[in-house]
Amino acid sequence: MMNESVVVVQGLVKRYGDVVAVDDISFEIQEREIFGLLGPNGAGKTTTINVLCTYTEPTAGQVAVGGHSVTAEPEAVKRTIGVVPQDIALYPDLNALENLRFFGRMYDVPKAKLEARIGELLELEGLEEHARRRVEHYSGGMKRRLNLAVGLLSEPRFLMLDEPTVGVDPQSRNAIFENIQALNRQGLTILYTTHYMEEAELLCHRVAIMDEGRIIALDSPQNLINTLGTGIIHIGVKDVDEEMLARLQALPRVKAVARRDDILAFETVDAQRALLDIIGLFNETDTPMTSLEILEPNLESVFIQLTGKQLRD
């Protein structure tokens, strides 16, 4: 299924003055893939999208979309892509039809085709009945859906969605997910950024986890969970010496122990059995525990394991 790379990013760096928003990242997105960029706010996801859609020039690195360089052939890139910005980018005083018509003309959709396309998109997003209502009177979810429709007007080959579910009710959220999956089945390549790990798990074929401008893991959600997200145990401690750490590390089912402040993070082969060994050792040495947690096997756990911090602070 996956053959050709629609997006190739090599060594992308973007600096704003002294602030490094994106710090030397590389990845490729295959044709017909839903690729997720995951990370907390400020990780560099939107900056990456801004470079991909030619809105921002990269400080360094090579970025090509549909075989066109974003710096050398921005016009060609613009005709390949559809973008759904993080913030609603619509004219609130106009109705859905007027918004779609205007943006359609900006994207050179031929007049004859435009009306048909608008009809299709309104149907796809379930907005036919509200087509003549002013957008300012729409609910948050309806605005999001229309925002998505505008991104699809030009029938792009590659669609970028920047946190499309922020501030959306569960019903609209499901509708957006279904849309994305349906579009992908029709052959659309999609880049999806979010800070909701469960969305990425549900939608994406592959996920790049970003933190502080860098990609810290890139694989399919299942592989990430399998390699990092299972058997994670967090134990709160007051003070633990090096000897104790070494003994814990030496336990047969413990793959790795990392200490972050007052938490010991264990990566284990079999959490339940490993826990018995660990507790045994704590008892033996009479070391007090302050908390104990077995993390669910999911991307959230992967992120915590990789960065030591929660996604949604």
Binding site: Y55, T56, P85, Y91, D93, F102, R105, M106
Partner: protein
């Protein structure tokens, strides 16, 4: 070019949808015209010139007093009233109903003819705005008579010196001298000849010629401001980013906005002129085409200013401080020449 047109259309559509903005865009020029009209022509003044009513009390009744009355009556902007006695005239002035009053003393004619000092009395209320104007006018009259009187004095003393006689008909001499002097004053021997050089086509000075280019420049600047405001609003809505990443040339985006603002400005000015012409009798000049051309020239600077703005704004600033108010740009497009004629 097609996209520029669509951006212009969209801008106008947005304005049409924003009822408050649309109402303001109509009200503002009308309000400006009204204000400027009042400033230039006085409340409801129309095109009438200012006329000052001036009571004149004549205690003399002589030939010279009649002459004073004649001169004052012929003075532009003065309406001489002779029906009042001194007391009533004083009362009118102190009540503020008249700016001033003139009293001609009883020995006025005799004094003039005999070369004796005399005075025209001007009664004014303190602080009156037209008082200095009146004073100037009356001074003009008195200085004229002073000249006449000096001439009479000189003539008589010359005759006396030459003839050595004091029994001649001096009254007759004085009368003839006065008559001749006054005739000369009306048609002086030494006249002022005015020669105009340069373009004779524009010899008629028209304040409009000054006002229009001034307002045109102002208007052009409002157009740029409006365009800038419209783009700031796009930034706020997030639609600016969407347009920037759409395959459209930047000149279309900027040009479309500016053209829309320009059209709105022209429409506002036209509205203002129609309103001004109907209500304040604003003169639109002889040649509307000439007027238009003087207006379009500075407007041609729009793209230049716009490009400067574009260059400075397009440096990827992440902050979007946007005074929301300026965005729909009410465009107080000035009040071009609400001139009272």
């Amino acid at each position: 070019m097609k996209k520029l047109f669509h951006i212009t259309l969209n801008e106008l559509l947005l304005l049409r949808k924003d009822k408050m903005a649309a109402i303001w865009m109509i009200i503002l020029p009308l309000a400006m015209t009204t204000i400027m009209g009042m400033v230039f022509s006085g409340f409801g003044g129309g095109s009438e010139a200012v006329v000052i009513d001036l009571p004149v009390v004549d205690h003399d009744g002589g030939e010279m007093a009649t002459m004073v009355l004649d001169i004052l009556s012929q003075t532009e902007n003065l309406q001489v009233e002779t029906a009042y006695d001194e007391e009533t005239a004083c009362q009118l002035v102190s009540d503020g109903k008249r700016a001033g009053a003139v009293v001609i003393p009883s020995d006025f004619s005799a004094a003039i003819l005999s070369g004796q000092p005399t005075a025209l009395e001007l009664i004014v209320a303190p602080g009156g705005q037209t008082a200095p104007l009146l004073e100037g006018m009356v001074r003009g009259v008195t200085s004229g008579f002073s000249n006449v009187q000096t001439t009479v004095e000189l003539a008589i003393s010359e005759v006396q010196r030459a003839t050595g006689s004091y029994d001649l008909d001096y009254e007759g001499i004085a009368n003839r001298v006065v008559a001749t002097t006054l005739e000369r004053l009306e048609d002086p021997l030494v006249q002022t000849q005015i020669t105009t050089v340069g373009n004779t086509e524009e010899e008629e000075f028209d304040i409009f010629d000054q006002v229009v280019p001034g307002y045109a420049v102002m208007f052009a600047m409002f157009g740029v401001l409006g365009g800038a405001g419209a783009i700031l609003e796009e930034k706020e809505r997030g639609t600016f980013k969407r347009l920037l990443i759409a395959p459209l040339p930047k000149y279309a985006l900027l040009g479309g906005k500016l053209v829309a603002q320009f059209l709105l400005g022209v429409a506002q000015i036209a509205l203002m002129f129609v309103f001004g012409a109907l209500l304040f009798h604003v003169s639109l000049g002889d040649s509307i085409l000439g007027w238009c051309s003087s207006r379009w020239r500075p407007a041609g600077l729009l793209p230049v200013w716009g490009c400067c703005w574009w260059r400075s704004s397009n440096r990827e600033s992440r902050s979007t401080p946007s005074p929301h108010w300026s965005s729909w740009a009410p465009q107080p497009s000035a009040a071009p020449g609400t001139r009272c004629s």
